[in-house]
Symmetry: C2
Subunit: 201 residues, 2 copies
Amino acid sequence: MDFDAYLDALASAAPTPGGGSAATLVGALAAALCAMVARITAAAPKHAAVHGAAAAIAGEADALRAAFLTLRPNDESAFAAVVAAQALPRANDDERTHRTAEIQRALAHAADVPLHVAGRAVETIALAERTAELRNAHLASDVACALDFARAAFDAAAANVRVNHAYLRDAAIIEAQTKRLAALEATGRAREDAARAILAG
Amino acid sequence: MDFDAYLDALASAAPTPGGGSAATLVGALAAALCAMVARITAAAPKHAAVHGAAAAIAGEADALRAAFLTLRPNDESAFAAVVAAQALPRANDDERTHRTAEIQRALAHAADVPLHVAGRAVETIALAERTAELRNAHLASDVACALDFARAAFDAAAANVRVNHAYLRDAAIIEAQTKRLAALEATGRAREDAARAILAG
């Protein structure tokens, strides 16, 4: 993916990509930084005691990065489906009923994709905590950057879940997704606080 | 720039790119989102009252995005210069004196580049506040994402300024850069709080 072309598309008036898509890129940057710290640590003789842990973190970080990159087109197509449903004809009652149902179905999915991004972001925060536990002091600022990016990816994804809830009418879906988001938020905050404490030494 | 190749390089054990470089990409994503909100608003008849303001924001956002992209290679070469200075010979006193001076010079520059990134990040936060003032409610989540990303770019850049200070010996440079960073932090926090208040309606 060409980053400059992506930025041009993001900055344009086209409906996609938007903030939810961009959040997956920020999450991928966070995961890649965890992998970097893990790989440098795994190659350093003075960190031999944590080489096994570092190698495991590098592998998990690569998998998280791939997951974020898979979620990007999902976010874009989910939002495009909402826009397409809104463009359906509404000349009579049948068309209006069909259009409303399609919009609602699209909105539920458009909220579900960023919820998955938020889940990956919390996994990345937890991985950054384990990366901090490798205690490679020379790379503490890179772990801090990974936390900053994973936190931003979470917050951006959460905003995209909530914006869809503003238009969704299915109270059960809203409640279930809100509950899941709150649980992720709590875990993410706890793991981030623990990681920052390790970095502060 | 190919984003997947960049992520591979970031995740590798190579010294560059690192968190400071990645912060410029996150800042560019924030600026592009401000541009997107401004452009969609500038094309919407119902927002005619703010078309002039929206067009101005789009132009400034494009300039900020370009500034972030210019700073990325600067960050990478500044850090590479520190690594190169550390690799200089130190077989005798002359070589050791020369090496120390080169490391210190490289560190001062390696702290200065993320300080510029931090400055651009605060400009982006201030621009996101003006973007929020356009009051395009449908795009409030995208403005929130822009704030999340600009904040993360600032925090990541600030961490990269401070990590160089840990090895810098010139107290005057450290003091001047720390003062500048604190001023940016205060402005960024104030503008972000104001923007979040607008978004909360």
